[in-house]
């Protein structure tokens, strides 16, 4: 049994491919736990960042700087009354949030946090991700229909039309990236998520800069389409607060509503990780071919530790700036503790064995975090598109452009 567990560690592959159930389960738990934590952190960060965009402070009361706000929210949502409209289709109403949640969490099976840090590496990885994430449309449609009310229905119709439309452009943009993976000696590409990153590694270039500006345009299309896919601003028509109150989840409350939110944020992280994998080099550290050599490797491997130490430092500044009043004592201690934990993590990350293992995961998460920040930035900046404009952008701009990019990429691939 112990052999079974340890044998994986010596193998150089993902637990799914190694067929090691134990490590697969461990990875599943770690990834899903990590994603749940990330969603909660994202919730807090979005509120804080958005607030600072809007010259507010955001949550400040629950914990130091509102750090415990997501937990308070979770408790509030869990204990809230769960209302099911009397005319609703109970079963479908119950099922819809679960489908969205499952769809957006299942895709993490193939997300490659590192060359071996994925639950499994499917041969059809990217296809699987697109397919499973497209299943969340079902949840949206079901939620809108089951609520038996006008606003959710319109929201669901809008949302499904939107998601289906942008899936097309998104798929074509993805195809042009996949096409780039086939530009090697054998001429065969791959759909595997790990394979795609490895292709970028072997071609010594992020696909973002491949055939400039083709890769860039394809990435841009994907970046727009992924915002639309996840129903976020400025494409948040299905949830357009001012028009449809809350779109397809108008009638949901409490726990079920929180499942929608959980699913939405998880989907955001998921599509961002697709973008990172396809165009921005996945787990690769910046400039792996330019800044080579031992020294640079060391420098880049120290960055995670320094980042956490920096965060710890910021936390301690916050501690120093806390009002010196008995009322704030608990908060001050809490923030200091938080800073200490961050610093400890930073120190642990300096340890050579940890440093080497955690690097890939760190760079992957850092890249995803940039996308997450973009999501927040969009939300603070842009007004909302109108439905016909949204459709026009999807079908008349993104789709032709993505087809053109695909054809040009193919031509370039043949020529060079």
């Amino acid at each position: 049994m112990l052999d079974y567990i340890t044998s994986y560690l010596s193998s150089n592959t993902t637990p799914g491919q190694a067929g090691n159930v134990f490590w697969a389960l461990v990875y599943i738990m770690v990834v899903f736990g990590g994603v749940s934590v990330a969603v909660m952190a994202m919730n807090w960060l979005e509120r804080k960042a958005l607030a600072h965009f809007q010259i507010r402070l955001g949550p400040m009361r629950v914990g130091p700087h509102g750090l415990l706000q997501p937990i308070a929210d979770a408790i509030k949502l869990l204990t809230k009354e769960d209302i099911v409209p009397s005319e609703a289709d109970k079963f479908v109403f119950w099922l819809a949030p679960l489908i969205i949640l499952c769809a957006s969490f299942t895709v993490y099976i193939v997300v490659p946090f590192g060359p071996t840090h994925a639950i499994t590496d499917l041969n059809i990885g990217i296809l699987f991700m697109l397919g499973v994430s497209s299943l969340s449309v079902l949840g949206v449609v079901m939620a809108g229909w089951a609520s038996n009310s006008h606003y959710p229905l319109i929201g669901a119709l809008r949302s499904s039309a939107q998601m289906i439309s942008y899936e097309v452009a998104m798929g074509l943009a993805v195809v042009s990236a996949i096409l780039m993976t086939s530009l090697n000696a054998t001429g065969t590409g791959t759909l595997s998520m790990i394979g795609i990153v490895q292709a970028q590694q072997s071609q010594q270039m992020w696909f973002l800069f491949k055939f400039f500006p083709l890769g860039f345009i394809a990435f841009g299309i994907f970046a727009i389409a992924m915002v639309a896919e996840t129903n976020r601003a400025p494409f948040d028509l299905p949830e357009a607060e001012s028009e449809l109150t809350a779109g397809f989840h108008t009638e949901y409350s409490g726990l079920r509503w929180s499942l929608f939110m959980l699913g939405e944020y998880a989907a955001m992280i998921a599509v961002s990780s697709i973008a990172v994998t396809l165009w921005v080099g996945g787990w690769m550290r910046p400039f792996p071919n330019w800044l080579t050599g031992e020294t640079w490797d060391l420098v880049f491997s120290l960055i995670p530790g320094f980042l956490f130490l920096g965060l710890a430092f910021i936390a301690f500044i916050g501690v120093a700036r806390m009002p010196k009043h008995p009322y704030f004592r608990v908060q001050t201690i809490g923030l200091a503790g938080f800073g200490a934990v961050l610093g400890l993590i930073g120190l642990v990350l300096f340890a050579p064995p940890v440093r080497d293992r955690i690097q890939d995961i760190f760079w992957f998460c850092a890249k995803v975090a940039v996308f997450m920040y973009l999501y927040i930035w969009y939300r603070a900046t842009f007004p909302r598109y109108r439905f016909d404009q949204l459709m026009r952008v999807g079908w008349k701009v993104l789709l032709p452009v993505s087809i053109g990019v695909l054809i040009l990429t193919a031509i370039m691939g043949v020529l060079f």
Partner: protein, 389 residues
């Protein structure tokens, strides 16, 4: 301008045939949706019944009156002085303008005139109030269209105006700043500095709002060509204020029939060309700048002197009637007062700009999409307190 209404008058009204049974999307293509009275984008308790063909609006019907408080009836049972605070509650985001219109109407009826210093104070406060009203409009309008951030920016800056109000008369929203015959309060120490500081403070902030919106592609797409209304239709429907000006009519009561001290100031009337939501946005933004110009002139030239005309303790206008209107932030705000010689008005009729402007909603949104209804309600800048009175 001045041209005949070529349209069929019936085309200004849509008939919804609400008694038809509600059908599915497909068979009749028609869907009746109730927007409001509890809806985040109807700015209060406006209920709009929308008849939709998919997302396209076939017709609307406004159901109003949820906030009806019978202000005109109350007026008949209050003395002239007692009624003064009530007018603040109509257009509660532009309470100072309301008070100005009422006080001037009663003064006119009594044939007295407020002293020049009072008039200058009135102009300063009213223009500050116009700024506050436009800022509130901008924030909520942008929020309706999905841009969250301007709301907070405008509220931050509106706060400065409210602080001046608070310092001047103790109230922030329903100020009751003016009295019949002038102003009750002399300006506080540092009033002029505060106002001057504010005038220097706001222009960069207006640039900031414009930076977020004016050239924002999505904003332009959402507002350009949306809710168009021609000048002829505006006149026919009695629409006034920025909506009329955005259609290209250079008409502002502050210039056309100057009241208070407006004839002494130099300012422009911004106009638009196409009468769409984007033009109305630009017109209001420019109006904010012009307001600042007026305030600057007023605060620099504010004369010394009494602030209250000689009015009797008990206000008892002679038998007669008067109509006086001012340019409120939303349009022409008129007061028609009939006096029977007693201490109480015999009848007060308020001509609310929002009420009349709201009539144009149907014409402006017909044939547009649901999302445009939101934009148009926002751009009409209605306040339900004033619509329902």
């Amino acid at each position: 301008m001045g041209d005949q209404i070529t349209k069929d008058p019936a085309s200004f009204i849509s008939h919804l045939e609400l008694d038809q049974p509600d059908k599915t999307f497909l068979d009749s293509n028609e869907l009746i949706i109730n927007m409001g009275p509890q809806h985040p984008a109807t700015h209060g308790v406006l209920r709009v019944i929308l008849k939709l063909d998919g997302e396209k609006v076939l017709g609307t019907e406004c159901v109003i009156g949820y906030l009806h408080r019978g202000v005109e009836k109350i007026a008949e049972h209050r003395t002239y002085t007692m009624f003064n605070p009530y007018v603040d509650r109509m257009d509660y985001v532009a309470a100072v303008s309301n008070g100005l219109g009422y006080c001037e109407a009663v003064e006119k009826l009594m044939n007295v005139q407020a002293p020049p210093r009072a008039n200058y104070i009135r102009v300063i406060l009213t223009e500050l109030n116009r700024l506050a009203s436009h800022q509130l409009w901008l924030g909520t309008h942008a929020l309706d269209i999905g841009a969250m951030t301007p709301l907070f920016y405008t509220f931050r800056d509106r706060e400065e105006i409210l602080k001046i109000f608070e310092k001047y008369c103790g109230a922030r929203l329903t100020t009751h700043a003016f009295r019949i015959g002038g102003c009750l309060y002399e300006t506080y120490d540092g009033f002029e500095q505060d106002v001057k500081k504010f005038i220097d403070f706001l222009p960069p902030k207006i640039d900031e709002y414009e930076e977020l919106l004016t050239t924002n592609r999505i904003w332009v797409e959402r507002t350009k060509g949306v809710g168009k209304i021609t000048a002829a239709d505006c006149v026919a429907l009695g629409v006034t204020g920025p909506v009329l000006r955005a259609s290209g009519v250079k008409w502002d009561l502050r210039k056309a029939q100057p009241y208070a001290a407006y004839s002494e100031f130099d300012f422009d009337i911004p106009i638009g060309q196409s009468g769409d939501t984007y033009d109305r946005y630009l017109v209001r933004m420019e109006e904010m700048r012009q307001s600042l110009r007026i305030i600057r002139q007023a605060v620099e030239r504010i004369p010394e002197g009494p602030i209250m005309a000689k009015v009797p303790k008990v206000i008892k206008p002679a038998v007669g009637e008067i109509y006086h209107s001012i340019e409120a932030p939303k349009g022409e705000l008129g007061y028609f007062i009939v006096s029977d010689g007693s201490t109480q008005p015999y009848r007060i009729r308020v001509r609310p700009p929002s009420f009349v402007n709201l009539q144009a909603l149907d014409l402006m949104v017909r044939g547009q999409l649901v999302a445009d209804v939101i934009a148009v309600i926002g751009t009409l800048d209605i306040v339900l307190g004033e619509v329902d009175r």
